[in-house]
Amino acid sequence: MIRWRGIFDRMLLYGAVLMAALSIVVIVSAIRTAQETSQNFNDNLTFYAGQMEVEALLLQDALSRSAVNDPSLEPGAVTLRFDILWSRVFNELDPEVFWTDETTYELAMQTLQSSREALQEVEAPVAALQPLDVAGAVAIKNRIRPIVFEARALHLASKDSRVRNQTTLVRHQLAQTNLVFGLIVGMALFGVCSILLLRADRREIQSMNARLEDRVRQRTDDLQSANRRLAGEIAERQRSQDLAEERETRLEQAVQLARLGYYVWDSIEDRCELCSGQHAAAYGMTPTQFIAAADGRAAALELIHPDDRTKVAEKYQELCDGHIIEVSYRVKTSSGTRRLREVARPIFDDVGNVIRVSGSTLDVTDQYETELKLFEAQKMDSIGKMTGGVAHDFNNLLAVILGNLELLQEAPTDEERDEMFQDAINATLRGRDLTMSMLSFARRAPLDPSDLQLNEIVAEMHGMLRRTLPESISLEVVLSDDLSTVVADRSLTESTLLNLAINARDAMPDGGRLTIETSNVTLSNDQIDAAGEEIEPGEYVMLAVTDTGRGIQKELMANIFEPFFTTKEFSKNSGLGLSMVQGFMRQTGGTVRVYSEPGVGTTFKLLFQAAVAQDAVAEPAEMPDVATPPASLRVLLVEDDDTVRKILTRQLEISGMCVVPAAESAAAEHAYQTDGPFDVVVSDIVMPGDLQGPSLLRRLRETDKDLPGVLLSGYPQEAIMHGNGVSPEDVMVMKPVGREDLIAAINLALNPGSAPSPKRS
């Protein structure tokens, strides 16, 4: 397109130049033609011939009038006319002036020549002519006459020639006019084309300019953005570099801070290629020593604790097979046993063979020991809180016993009395079981499962529950017929039911209705999945306890099974109830479901797996031997409660001990000084007087620092609250305490670390 335009433009230019040149040529030629015409194609010859004819005729006239001797004829007129004609004929006609065309000019020359001849012939006769010489005059006239005709012929010829010439000229001029007109049209066309092209060019140039500007702008933008990008990249690179360096430094610091060791093992050479100082230090060596010692995999394994070698060897084999491993092991060093945790990964070559292993090690010895201590601390804390909370549950049992014993004093009938005895003894036994269940929670104590009919248990506990609940709470029992048998620990089942009933009671301080319900249920997979429980689908027996109390807030639902969670005052409840219930149900292979609506009430559903042939899951409880303390022991007994003091004194004396009872700490101090020495002090914690149990012990230990002590309390939290008086060897005993327990406690105080617990009697 552009090439065509170029050619077209060039053609236009050439055309314009050509036309201009042509125009100039035509105009010049027209001017020249006009000049030539004005010079050549003039009237000179026509005029000249006409004059010649007239002059010849005037000569004729003079001759005729001379022949008749016309008086009006001036004298010498014939000679004058002759001379005039002569002057006309004897003339050199300049061809430039008299030219018309070749033929006519020739004719003119001939005419002049013949005329000259005629005039020369008549010259003498004319001179000799006399008036009235008719013959002479006629003779001259005859000779002159042809001049008239020839002159006339020349006149006409030159006129014709002039007409011809003019016609040619007109034709010529017409042609020139046409040519000029054509040129004008052509130039006009060229002009139009040029204007169009110029406009197109201008538009093109404008658009090109616009495009160019756009391109320049775009290029500028590109450059700017490229610059920005470049600057950004440079900054980014600098940042990355800084970051990388910083990261490296940080990594190095982190590795050092984390005490992270690392090594690289060459699997082909089977030797340690690289070893960090930290890694070697974990083995109690320098890196050089470690590399020298770990010469081959077998040698490296030698460095590991013998008990862990097999485990580590297996892991190393996995590593060589191309797996990432994580292994903990012990290393014996000169400074003791270190525990290491190692993570290692294989490095492959192109074809997938393991050529190297890179591993990192962390010395977790300190962590392990800290964790152990922490675990112990947590355990101690849990035990402390648990034993504190148990008081409440226990007091409930005591309330039952107390109530029955009080009623016994009334002693209505034998039948009623027997029932009351039985209730009191049952409550006492449940109290023991409760303590045991505490321990079973704390230590995962084995259960004693047996076939149970839940309907029977509910029925047996009905009377006790009725009496435990205040008048404002009505008790309803709905028992299902054909209830399946379950396999569970009897006392824990009872304890659980009691626990739920007491919770229900506490939830209804203003009274309400407590409903105990049993039924067979079938759980499908869907129901279990929906509840998110970890139990098998199948046949279950439900024991439900429903109250019309205040309900449980939705946001608390997730917490109610957590140990030590309670909404009640701390003194009222251990917070262990529901967590125990859940633990028990899980151990039994069932679950607990809670439905609660604030303000309406709460339902706890215990789901026991229906018995098919369940194996015993627990070992029988072991009965530890209670070493009998020496019968001759001297015991200082401090107890403010007279009854308890009396019973305790009797229990110890039955065991053959020598007991000095004191009612409070001042008396005890006095007795210690007057009746001492004593082998052991058995003291209540909370007492009237200046000194509490622990403080008393501390005071007494100022003189006998190894004095064993047994502290009695209904509420061990008291001991913690009173602080420093308690030494680790002191044995704490929860009241009420049986004889055997008391003796075991004394035995334990005398021989610390012998029996695990005085309460496991």
């Binding site: 007239v54 001379d83 005039i84 002569w86 002057s87 006309r88 050199e92 300049d94």
Partner: protein, 156 residues
């Protein structure tokens, strides 16, 4: 090219003593009683001679013409007009603007190549323009004004 001859024979305003060869009539100051100023050869030549050497369409080659300048002649006659109407012996006549004589050295020749002009040689008086000296004169217009066998002049 001009050749001035002192006019030894100036005759004043009197009638010519020789043969009258030129009559000037019309608007002129120095006329005789009949309103015509007449000149013989002696009077004409007495006005001062001027030579033109030129080519003409009617003469072969360069030719010497001697005569009086037309403007001197008309001044002598006291011409008071713009145009002269010149008439020849053969009754040829032509109008010539007087301005021609102020612009060009136009002469009324009496001699050609040193000899007096005869009637046969288109004399005795022949108006000659300086054709060779002035190119623009070489055209039909001035050729027709170059009247020969001049007989009379009427000034208008």
């Amino acid at each position: 090219m001009a050749l001035l001859i002192p006019s030894a024979l100036r005759a004043g305003e009197d009638d010519p003593k020789g043969l009258v060869i030129l009559e000037i009539s019309g608007a002129l100051a120095n006329a005789s009683n009949d309103g015509v100023r007449r000149y013989d050869m002696q009077q004409i030549e007495g006005l001062g001679l001027h030579e033109i050497i030129t080519e003409t369409p009617w003469t072969p080659g360069r030719t010497s013409f001697t005569g009086v300048l037309m403007r001197d002649l008309l001044a002598d006659a006291g011409a008071q007009g713009d145009v002269i109407s010149a008439v020849a012996l053969n009754d040829y006549s032509v109008d010539i603007p007087i301005s021609d004589f102020d612009r060009y050295n136009v002469i009324m020749a009496t001699k050609m190549n040193g000899e007096y002009l005869t009637i046969r040689n288109r004399g005795p008086l022949w108006v000659i323009y300086p054709y060779s000296d002035v190119r623009s004169l070489r055209n039909e217009l001035f050729y027709t004004r170059s009247i020969w066998q001049l007989r009379s002049i009427e000034i208008r």
